[in-house]
């Protein structure tokens, strides 16, 4: 890894710690669930915002149930105010548990009902093509969401029209609302399915910035070749980083007790300190 890439990973690690601390506080204050869903995509969202997307690019969180992570990333980028963040899930808030419509400029579509994000992103990407704009569109779906037929309708369309400026990222945490994806409605072999649809498939560790950086570089190369639309299968862990939540169905739903919240903060800080020490020792 280059020095520049290493520095980028350190910066991103700082950002994601701050983003996670913020959304855990939001969840705790609101006594809300979907914490595991936010933890599984936190690194992806941070990476997109702080290491990949340009001002003219657009992000759609199709798995709207991880809205707290999105709000926290936007606050990290000073695009939401602390006051807005404190109002999360309060009465009369602009920030409900799932993304709102026509309120936040960086949220072009209210999501939450699954299977909408990819097709609306395709529409915006096609619109940008008609406008002659060099804009990119990043859409994060969940894996359980792939049960929705509309996702595959969009997948057909994206490939037929070679909407290469759209990057689809699948948060592959293996768990959907009340079970494991492979037990509920098996998706595997997912990469082969997506390849058969015409996508260039990149598989990454969705919690590892070095892995995400490599995917970004691969995409940059593909874009120069105008090869094929890209899908990134980001292997993740639901509730990642918090020992009592990790890889459980429960963390899709349950809010944190006071003790669990303290434990979560402690574990995140400890992991971050270990990462920082590792970086320093390696340097």
């Amino acid at each position: 890894m280059t020095e520049h890439a290493k520095a980028e990973c350190v910066m991103l690690a700082e950002r994601v710690l701050s983003v996670k601390m913020r959304f855990l506080a939001m969840y705790k204050r609101a006594n809300a669930g979907h914490i595991g869903s936010s933890l599984s995509c936190a690194e992806i969202l941070v990476f997109l915002k702080f290491a990949w997307m340009r001002d003219e690019d657009t992000f759609v969180l199709s798995k709207g149930h991880a809205a707290a992570a999105l709000y926290s990333v936007l606050a990290e980028a000073n695009l939401l105010t602390p006051c807005q963040i404190e109002s999360y899930c309060e009465e009369a808030t602009e920030l409900p548990a799932l993304p709102p419509f026509n309120v936040i400029e960086q949220i072009p579509f209210a999501t939450g009902s699954l299977g909408h994000g990819l097709p609306v992103s395709a529409g915006m990407a096609l619109g940008a093509r008609f406008n002659g704009q060099d804009r990119r569109f990043f859409c994060v779906t969940s894996d359980g969401e792939l049960d929705e037929g509309s996702v595959w309708e969009a997948a057909l369309f994206i490939n037929h029209h070679k909407l290469n400026q759209l990057v689809w990222i699948i948060d592959r945490n293996q768990i959907q609302a009340i079970g494991r994806t492979e037990d509920v409605l098996a998706l595997e072999p997912l990469d082969a399915k997506l390849r058969a649809f015409g996508f260039h498939v990149i598989t990454v560790d969705g919690h590892d910035f070095a892995s995400l950086l490599a995917a970004r570089d691969e995409c940059a190369e593909l874009w120069t070749l105008r090869a094929a639309p890209v899908v990134i299968i980001a292997n993740t862990v639901k509730g990642n980083g918090i020992s009592y939540m990790q890889d459980t169905v429960e963390c899709h739903y349950l809010p944190m007790t006071h003790t669990q919240y303290e434990q979560a903060l402690e574990e995140l800080k400890r992991a971050h300190t270990a990462f920082s020490h590792g970086q320093r020792d390696a340097g």
């Binding site: 026509n102 579509f109 209210a110 299977g115 609306v120 619109g127 008609f130």
Partner: protein, 313 residues
């Protein structure tokens, strides 16, 4: 303008296709999306629109969300399919991606009511207006005669709201029909006020009973939500006291229901309101649009008997 291969003249969709081409002459932000329908109807549109004509395949959910994304990117997308597929298959996409966001997506449903005739129940749209009426920000347009279509298309293009356009076989009415409007008086009459939506009104003129027709003052509704009751219509209702509504649509969510609410809340209260509406498939048998309309009592001898019975009351 070039000569375009429009080959079906009787259906509204021919006028619709011509109107789209004419609109594209003055507005380049249009995108036309079809759900793989429009054989011998949309060829001219495809030719004129070039890359802005998209056959999105038999995938209505994607087509509607796609249109919402295009509208978000500053375009004016039109989504065309059979009415039942335009409205019901992608209903949540219309609600969430289009209506909630108040995006100017123009949904076009060909074959409203029983217009697909012998194709059968899966191709009929008897609840499309009701389904669209309950959605936020949605405005519905219901042309009556062929000449309405171009005007409606132009109006929809300037309407910043999501819209639904219900096409069918255009009515052919005697005399001059006033230009498309939310409310139109089609003819005077002695004792009853009839209010209808769309081409089903033609059935009233085809009864072959001049004396019966002379009794009916006929009005056409062109948009939902219903515009305020015009003063002339209010005066007629106050005078005649009896209103009959007629629609090629189920009773639930249709014109009769909307009208009863509108009359009651505006204080224009008749002594009687009889709603004539589609009955669905009471015999379990199938036929042409005309056959289904008759079975529902919306045309032919069954309509004539029903009206005579009402006039005797």
């Amino acid at each position: 303008m070039r000569t375009l291969p429009f080959r079906t003249a009787s259906a509204m969709r021919a006028e619709f296709a011509q109107a789209m081409v004419a609109l594209f002459e003055r507005r380049k932000d249009l995108v036309f999306i079809t759900g793989d329908l429009g054989y011998m109807a949309l060829e001219g549109v495809a030719e004129a629109f070039g890359e802005r004509f998209i056959n999105a395949g038999v995938a209505e959910q994607n087509a509607v969300s796609l249109a919402a994304g295009l509208a978000r990117a500053g375009h004016l997308p039109w989504v065309y399919s059979a009415a039942v597929f335009t409205v019901l298959r992608p209903y949540e996409q219309i609600r969430n991606d289009v209506c909630l966001h108040e995006l100017p997506v123009k949904l076009v449903g060909n074959g409203g009511g029983y217009a697909y005739g012998i194709m059968g129940a899966t191709h009929h749209a008897l609840e499309d207006v009701g389904a669209m009426r309950v959605l936020p920000n949605m405005r519905i347009y219901l042309p009556l005669v062929a000449a309405d279509v171009a005007r409606v298309v132009s109006t929809m293009a300037d309407d910043p709201l999501p819209n639904y356009l219900r096409l069918g076989l255009a009515a052919k009415l005697p005399g001059t029909v006033p230009a498309f409007a939310p409310w139109r008086k089609l003819k005077p009459g002695r004792s009853r006020v009839v209010i209808g939506m769309g081409p089903v009104l033609q059935g009233l003129y085809e009864l072959g009973d001049r004396a019966l027709l002379d009794e009916l003052e006929i009005w056409s509704v062109g948009t939902f939500p219903l515009a305020d009751i015009p003063a002339e219509l209010a005066a007629s209702i106050q005078e005649k006291r009896a209103v009959i509504s007629i629609e090629e649509h189920y009773r639930a969510g249709g014109l009769g229901e909307a009208l009863s609410h509108s009359l009651l809340t505006s204080g224009v209260i008749p002594e009687s309101l009889v709603c004539l509406h589609a009955a669905g498939y009471p015999s379990g048998r199938y036929g042409s649009q005309r056959w289904h309309l008759a079975e529902s009592g919306l045309s032919g001898p069954p309509l004539a008997s029903r009206l005579k019975e009402l006039l005797r009351a």
